[in-house]
């Protein structure tokens, strides 16, 4: 009898240990030109192109080894380090190319630039849709935009058609580069509005090109509920 009790007592706690869940968080690496141009002034100040590179798990890699090229060097000349100069009137495509260290994948990103009489940066806004990736209701349109008339604040706005299940507590919103993990994502905060238009102003340290996903995450359970791709 005593032996039975002893075996039972020793055996049961074995079940209740903190163990490990393995997560497949691989994503396709991505490369973005983070300061694209619409127009570059002929003979004007040179423009230093820069990139954001996110590796095979969506982690941002600083100072990636990128090669730069111009589709027409008689219109736009560019150095190996991405310094571009307007040579003559016309249009050229600037391409950044990177071969990933880990998987030897070649990825590119391009910017079509018109060489003209003035330099114009692109006023970018991303429009997209939030979709549920679970069995909880979550949907709506979004806009990610730099509001130049409001001190260049970067604002994520959810549309009137936004709706999220109120049966889903612990819901948080993130910006990230890996839809399978929020380990390197920026946590905007807990979701407190579940229907209708609203917005989040993001800190000035975040660029519109820094993230490629809006993620809705059940934080306590570490599981994605929905996402919107920023493209």
């Amino acid at each position: 009898m005593k032996k039975t009790i002893l075996i039972l007592v020793c055996f049961l706690p074995v079940f209740s240990c903190v163990k490990t869940d393995l997560i497949n968080d691989r994503v396709d690496p991505k490369l973005f030109i983070s300061n694209p141009l619409l127009e570059l002034k002929k003979g004007g100040t040179a423009h230093q192109f820069e990139v954001n590179y996110f590796n095979y798990v969506g982690k941002k890699i600083e100072n990636p080894k990128v090669s730069w090229s111009s589709s027409d060097s008689s219109v736009l000349a560019i150095t190996e380090d991405g310094l571009a100069t307007g040579v003559d009137f016309g249009t050229a495509t600037v391409t950044a190319t990177l071969t990933t260290k880990e998987e030897q994948l070649t990825i590119t990103n391009s910017d079509i630039v018109k060489v003209s009489s003035a330099t114009l940066t692109e006023s970018i806004e991303f429009l997209g849709t939030i979709v549920t990736t679970s069995n909880y209701e979550l949907e709506g349109s979004y806009t990610l935009k730099v509001h130049e008339d409001e001190n260049n604040v970067l604002r994520l706005s959810l549309g009137e058609d936004y709706k999220a299940s109120t049966s889903l507590p612990g819901l948080y919103i993130y910006l990230g580069n890996n839809p399978n993990s929020v380990a390197d994502a920026y946590e905007i905060g807990p979701v407190t509005i579940f229907e209708g238009a609203h917005f989040y102003d993001l800190p000035s340290t975040i660029s519109i090109y820094d993230y490629s996903y809006i993620l809705y995450w059940c934080k306590p359970f570490g599981v994605k509920v929905g996402e919107g791709q920023i493209q």
């Binding site: 039975t4 039972l8 049961l12 869940d21 691989r26 819901l171 306590p220 359970f221």
Partner: protein, 287 residues
Amino acid sequence: MKKTILLSILLVLSCSFLSHAQWLEKKGGGYFKLSAWFLEADQHYTNSGKIDPNATRGIFNLNLYGKYGLSDNWNIIAYIPFYVKSYQNHQVSEITNETLLEGEEFNSFGDMNLGIEYRLFKTSKFAFSTSLTLGIPSGNSSGGSDGSYQTGDGEFNQILRFNAGTSFSLFKHSLYAKSHIGFNNKTKNFSDEVRAGIEVGTSFLESKLLLLFRSNMVESLRNGSLDASNSNGSIFANNVEFISIGGEIAWKLTKKIGVSFGYNSAISGKVIYAAPSYNGGIFYLLK
């Protein structure tokens, strides 16, 4: 979601333990059980009844259940989970082996149930009783680093039940059947619930081996106002529903002492783990 599901676990648990309640103990008699209960799940039923994944979470408890006959008509019942462990696994990248989310565990005392049962009447084949159980919020409703490792729901509820039992023969073998229906009055803006259950059991080998099957259900009345929009982003439990099936096998080692092992699982539900639970214990019959 986390607390919702935790509470649903505790709810299944209480259904399981309180199902001993239909047969009243005689005056001075009693049934006492020391048990361990365990559930681990990596998926759950959503609010629409479909199944979604989650990081693996588990709950383990050690508890004492006791039922004692104050008289032939009045019994007192107590369920005391004196050790409850709630935990979540580490989340590790299988690509880089980096830890994406640290696991965690939290231990404390759990929510107790204290009750009293009264025999309404008894015939040669049927027995009817009613019971009132008080859900004491003695556990921790905000355990762990983010408050999600609860060992209790933080609310005081009262369950009024009517119980019926009968014995019968099938192929010259004696069996018993029990059923109950009850109302769970919940506080703090939680929805009230209707609970019901059935149990069929029999014994073998000169009553040394007891085998039983049971099914329980909980239906929310959806009259509570608590939801994610008014809980300030905190985690809560409301409108939990399920139908579960399970069984238990008990072996009497002596006339007074025995061991038992049980299994329960929700076959459908809303906001409840989609995984079975297991329990094992040692019981003592006071005669």
